[in-house]
Amino acid sequence: MFKRLIPHPFLSVGLVVVWLMLVNHFSLGNLLLGAVLGILVPALTGPYWPNKPSVGRPLKIIEYILVVLWDIVVANVQVALLILFKRNANLKSQWIVVPMELTSPEAITVLAGTITMTPGTVSAMLTADASEILVHCLHTDDPEGTRDDIKNRYERRLKEIFQ
């Protein structure tokens, strides 16, 4: 009964929190309205999302978010410096291919988003069987190093979160 009513508990809680933040005012009425949304939205969108992702280790998630937030700040500064002080002729843009060990669609989505937001890389495409990801580097002298960075820094942590 409980599982049928709330198939995705994290999504439901997230929706309630987002609703309360949207109205920016805590009251019982808002909480109830948020709860209605938190039950209705997952129920209505459930058919499009048959597999429940297994997410574990809340501490790891927080660590991942902090690492990514810090990297976003670093990435901003790096890209700004490249834009301002690097002559276009000296920019060595190139594609790199990163093989992935992640299998769940949710984990790959998070990894692709992270790659886009962090230093000098934009994720562009997957292989048809989703075993590799195509990444565009704005400037790199060391493609192998960049690839290993992505694997060690993000993929390893994501693998621990989405087992």
Partner: protein, 128 residues
């Protein structure tokens, strides 16, 4: 105290202005579409982020209200920017498929714009 808060707000506003400007400048300066994609996905994130932090500090210090809207904007921005960038990149690769040289993929399946996924029946697992 007010002085410190004002300096903080100003600091974040200036930071965000600089990064917004650099991001927009990057759009003009860089050469091809894939390079130009780097400017708005990164430099501008801090540009918008700075304004939002400044706004939160301002309302907390001077209006005595804690506003969560800025936090939500940040979350939605971080969620949507990579998706939009990914769409632009993929559209570009399909449009200019004959002009852009992609590196060979290391697996049998090939890149997703050229080939279909090998096992559609396998529900969920190993699907992009």
């Amino acid at each position: 105290m007010d002085q410190i808060m004002e300096i903080l707000v100003t600091f974040f506003l200036v930071i965000s202005g600089i990064f917004g400007l650099v991001g927009s400048f990057g759009l003009i300066k860089l050469r091809d579409t894939m390079q130009r994609l780097h400017a708005p996905t990164k430099a501008t994130t801090l540009g918008v982020g700075g304004v939002l932090i400044a706004s939160m500090i301002y309302f907390f210090a001077f209006e005595d209200t804690l506003s969560f809207h800025e936090l939500l904007i940040t979350i939605f921005l971080l969620l949507t920017a990579p998706v939009a960038a990914n769409f632009i990149a993929k559209t570009l690769l399909i449009e200019k498929a004959d002009k852009i040289a992609l590196p060979p993929s290391g697996c049998d399946a090939g890149w997703a714009i050229h080939n279909d996924p090998p096992n559609l029946a396998n529900n969920g697992e190993s699907r992009g």
